[in-house]
Subunit: 338 residues, 2 copies
């Protein structure tokens, strides 16, 4: 597949190749007449500038690395959608990689992005250790972490206020009359989940009800894991009137187990999720949940990153967004006992 280069165009036009370059880059130091003529010729010859060569001299690839744990996860793919939309307008393209939640893979990918000379990377981290694992590399490329609270780490991140989200969730359930609320899927190894369970606990304490947990013995969340855990839970009589699931995927698993066990939701049991993934809004599911504002999360991440890149800012920004409650059909009011 023979490619036509700037030299071929120059030869055909009978000018030097810097003149062609000037026409292409929109340089002012060239006559409008010549530019028109050259541009026309480029079209005729089917010439498109070689971005790789341009990147070399410009020291900018206009490429952004996007490292997610798993693009087939609806939360991630929606984020990718928004991120692509908002960066392409600004002349960037996305190099997509899946870390598969492996810290090892994640490090390899991060190094790969560095050697590919991407202008920046947006990272949806594999776990709560990602920041620590990657920190020796963070000086090599502008980076923003998404969805993980890095507390006061000196690196940009944007996330949702998971503590507050969980707190709100408990308040909502309490307002509906629930006094026995189980937190389902508590999980180690993730700041996000740490904060969610802390928010739950704080709210319980403030409202004078007893916090209690069903721990997630799996290290990741998926519908299947939620289902297995819930099956276990439903094998004994349940005292609780409401379950607060750590994630929507967990909640979906609970839904499935409940259906099999003949437990009606919300009639017998209220269910509240966290994330508001796309699936949750589907007919027949209608999961009430705490929403992470994905579009906003994406645009904040993009803004932070491009600021860093384009203004050569060397600082960092932390943005914590407040989640909102999306009421659907899995929670109902009950009369508080006692």
């Amino acid at each position: 597949m023979k490619q036509v280069t700037i030299k071929d165009v120059a030869r055909a036009a009978g000018v030097s190749y810097s003149t062609v370059s000037r026409s292409l880059t929109g340089s002012p130091e060239i006559s409008e007449k010549t530019r028109e003529r050259i541009l026309q010729l480029c079209r005729e010859m089917n010439y498109t500038a070689n971005t790789v060569a341009r990147s070399m001299v410009m020291k900018s690839t206009k490429l952004l690395g996007l490292i997610v744990t798993d693009i087939s996860n609806p939360f991630m793919s929606e984020m990718a959608y928004y991120i692509d939309g908002q960066t392409r307008d600004r002349g960037y393209n996305i190099v997509l990689c899946n870390s598969l939640r492996s810290p090892e893979q994640e490090r390899i990918l991060f190094e790969l992005m560095i050697s590919r000379k991407v202008d920046g990377v947006i990272l949806l981290p594999a776990d709560s250790e990602s920041y620590r694992n990657l920190s020796p590399l963070l000086g090599s490329v502008p980076t923003v972490f998404v969805g993980e609270n890095l507390r006061d780490a000196p690196e940009s991140y944007v996330t949702v206020d998971n503590f507050r989200g969980a707190y709100m969730g408990v308040e909502y359930l309490y307002g509906l009359g629930h006094r026995k609320i189980l937190y389902f899927g508590k999980r180690k190894g993730s700041t996000t989940h740490q904060l969610r369970s802390e928010g739950y606990e704080a709210a319980c304490r403030d409202l004078g009800i007893r916090p209690h947990y069903l721990n997630n013995t799996f290290s990741s969340t998926s519908i299947k894991h939620g289902y297995q855990l819930a099956l276990q839970l439903f094998s004994q009589p349940l005292e609780d009137t409401a379950i607060f699931a750590a994630t929507d995927t967990n909640a979906l698993g609970i839904l499935q187990a409940a259906e099999e066990k003949g437990i009606r939701i919300p009639d017998d049991l209220s269910l509240l999720g966290f994330d508001n993934i796309r699936d949750s809004g589907l007919p027949r599911i209608g999961l009430t949940t705490i929403e992470q504002p994905r579009k906003l999360l994406a645009s904040m991440a993009v803004d932070s990153l491009l600021d860093k890149i384009e203004n050569e800012l060397s600082g960092y920004t932390h943005r914590i967004l407040t989640p909102t409650l999306v009421e659907r059909t899995t929670c109902r009011a009950v009369t508080p006992e006692g």
Copy 2:
């Protein structure tokens, strides 16, 4: 962000920079001793080769363009997941773009991929005209189309046998006793949909039942559109005992409308989808559907493309996979009338 280059390493090692290059590329014409020493030094200096510069001279970026209509669509994101997995093993990375189903955007993106000098592109086309629109550019980069039947066009594609899938669907419903089967969401402007409705019609003819359609007046498919269309349908008494939806997203919309109208599925009406998107397997949904084998589709696409690239094959391949029926809970047996 100062980057260390091959020259810095060479200087530090007291060798010429071609020696460093040889250590890195695994060239045989270098002593094992020197290589070890250099490699060690690279690690110490935190040096990673500049892929952009390498691409220039190698005339290969090890980058593949992936153009989808919308990565937030679960079908596409799963494809992306598999494609990434199978290409990264082979040293490639993916540049992801969304065409938003706009032929105009799609052409711009395709040109962008050409100027980025990707080694190949995998295209999930915006519509049935994509091949024609893009054909002037197809000579510039190895390409494979996914999910659209290009008939006998001289370009690689991999797709599912949509005709056969629809035919199988009708046979299944017929076997369950259904004689009045509505095809829901017939749509123009897509070979895929053309073939599906042809398969439906052929099966009806062969089985001696009357084909009839509810046309999709929207040009794209989404849950919302399916919902609106179904609402319209359910506003009058329905003769049919089964609906064959052109896509799972349509079927999901039907599910929602049915729920609102108090039509029980499958008790009052059987529903069959097409695609088997992830959502369809969710608890409480359990849509019976014709499955497109996504993982296989992805690996065939990757194989076709990499064959073309790595073996500099100038021909093309057509691969049409047979779909399978996934039985879940939205279809039930009825006693045929008459």
